[in-house]
């Protein structure tokens, strides 16, 4: 099993100029990233939607790699999204999924059938041409460069330690440093996109 912060730290070395949507890894990614204007840490607008948001950005910016760190809870909530992504098949879309096997932000309750789901198999079945699964950091480090060098869409399931949050939402330390609108505006400026 891997620590989210450690795998994101390693990923940073290989991101290049990719747009990164850190999803539920946002609280780790924001302090790590050295290219915040290319990050879209949206927090949790509505569960199950990160993959769609990533797909939309990837389709809109086909010359730019778009890397998403989704979660297994989000993916389970929108399994049909994998079919849409596979059909659109954006070559610039890299769909990573942080699998902590639980709903960490609500106290750590297990997701349904938590220990028995093969997410990479589901992605392949949905039509992704490539799908991987890693549980050990050394395997992830070894394969990541090749994964990012090849065209997408690719799905990568990453088994991570749960970092359960038990305190009430209102008492949690905020990790976002910009509003959602500011993050989008910053990316648009960086990529010279007209609003």
């Amino acid at each position: 099993m891997m620590h989210t912060a450690e795998l994101l730290e390693f990923f940073k070395k290989h991101r290049g100029d990719a747009v990164v949507i850190p999803g539920r890894g946002g609280r780790h990614w924001v302090p790590i990233s050295d290219k915040p204007s290319l990050d879209l840490p949206m927090g949790d607008p509505a569960m199950g939607g990160h993959a769609g948001f990533g797909l939309g950005v990837a389709l809109a910016q086909p010359k730019r790699k778009v890397v998403l760190f989704d979660s297994e809870g989000d993916v389970l909530m929108s399994l049909g999204m994998l079919v849409t992504i596979a059909e659109q098949a954006p070559k610039n879309f890299y769909h990573f999924m942080l699998d902590n096997a639980c709903y960490a932000t609500t106290g750590g309750q297990p997701v349904p059938n938590a220990e028995n789901v093969d997410y990479a198999a589901i992605a392949r079945g949905a039509g992704y041409g490539r799908a991987h699964a890693f549980t050990e950091i050394e395997d992830f480090k070894r394969e990541l460069p090749a994964i990012l060098d090849k065209p997408g869409p690719v799905f990568v399931a990453l088994r991570v330690y749960p970092e359960v949050q038990n305190e009430p939402i209102g008492k949690r330390r905020p990790w976002q440093t910009r509003t959602k609108q500011e993050t989008i505006d910053d990316m648009r400026r960086e990529l010279q996109i007209k609003a």
């Binding site: 607008p45 509505a46 389709l59 929108s78 849409t84 996109i193 007209k194």
Partner: protein, 172 residues
């Protein structure tokens, strides 16, 4: 209500409205109001169709497209719109996405005597979210589509067009 000579909503006119308003991507799930429109959209090389399997997915996809500089439209049915409530809240309203949702008004009867609860709750649902909406029944109403696009752009909010023409102009 329009006169009898234009008492249907032509898919060609809806397609033209989309083009005039710069739509680049149609994020959609088929419904009974939009079959013939689908054929027109599919034949248009400048429109990308992004099919979804559940309507809520359309909201986050449209949000991503908009963030990335495209101009999507969401094309779904009222039943799916209601299913999409949290995604409309979080991904469209929460991110200030100026998008038009063209929503098939299943069960609409004009006189208000509904036999389909999909129609009963449609406008109540939209009002609960505080969204602006326009009813389009026939070609004569088509200019409201452009009004909706302008309003979405001006307010940076989703705006709904209710297409109340089931089994007529959008189908052969």
């Amino acid at each position: 209500m329009s006169d009898a000579s234009s008492n249907v909503l032509s898919p060609d006119i809806v397609h033209r409205e989309m083009k005039q308003n710069g739509v680049t991507d149609v994020v959609w799930l088929p419904d009974s109001e939009t079959n013939w429109l689908y054929l027109l959209m599919k034949a248009d090389p400048d429109l990308r169709l992004v099919g979804v399997s559940r309507e809520g997915h359309a909201c986050s996809i449209a949000a991503g497209l908009s963030a990335g500089g495209r101009k999507p439209i969401i094309l779904i049915q009222n039943t799916g719109m209601m299913e999409s409530g949290d995604s409309i809240r979080g991904w469209l309203m929460g991110l200030d996405i100026p998008v038009v949702l063209m929503v098939g008004y299943r069960g609409y009867t004009r006189h208000g005597v509904n036999k389909d609860t999909a129609a009963t709750y449609t406008e109540r649902f939209i009002n609960a979210f505080g969204l602006q909406y326009y009813l389009v029944e026939s070609d004569a109403d088509a200019p409201r589509i452009s009004i909706a696009f302008k309003e979405a752009d001006r307010t940076k909010r989703p705006v709904v067009i209710l297409v109340a023409d089931e089994f007529h102009g959008f189908n052969r």
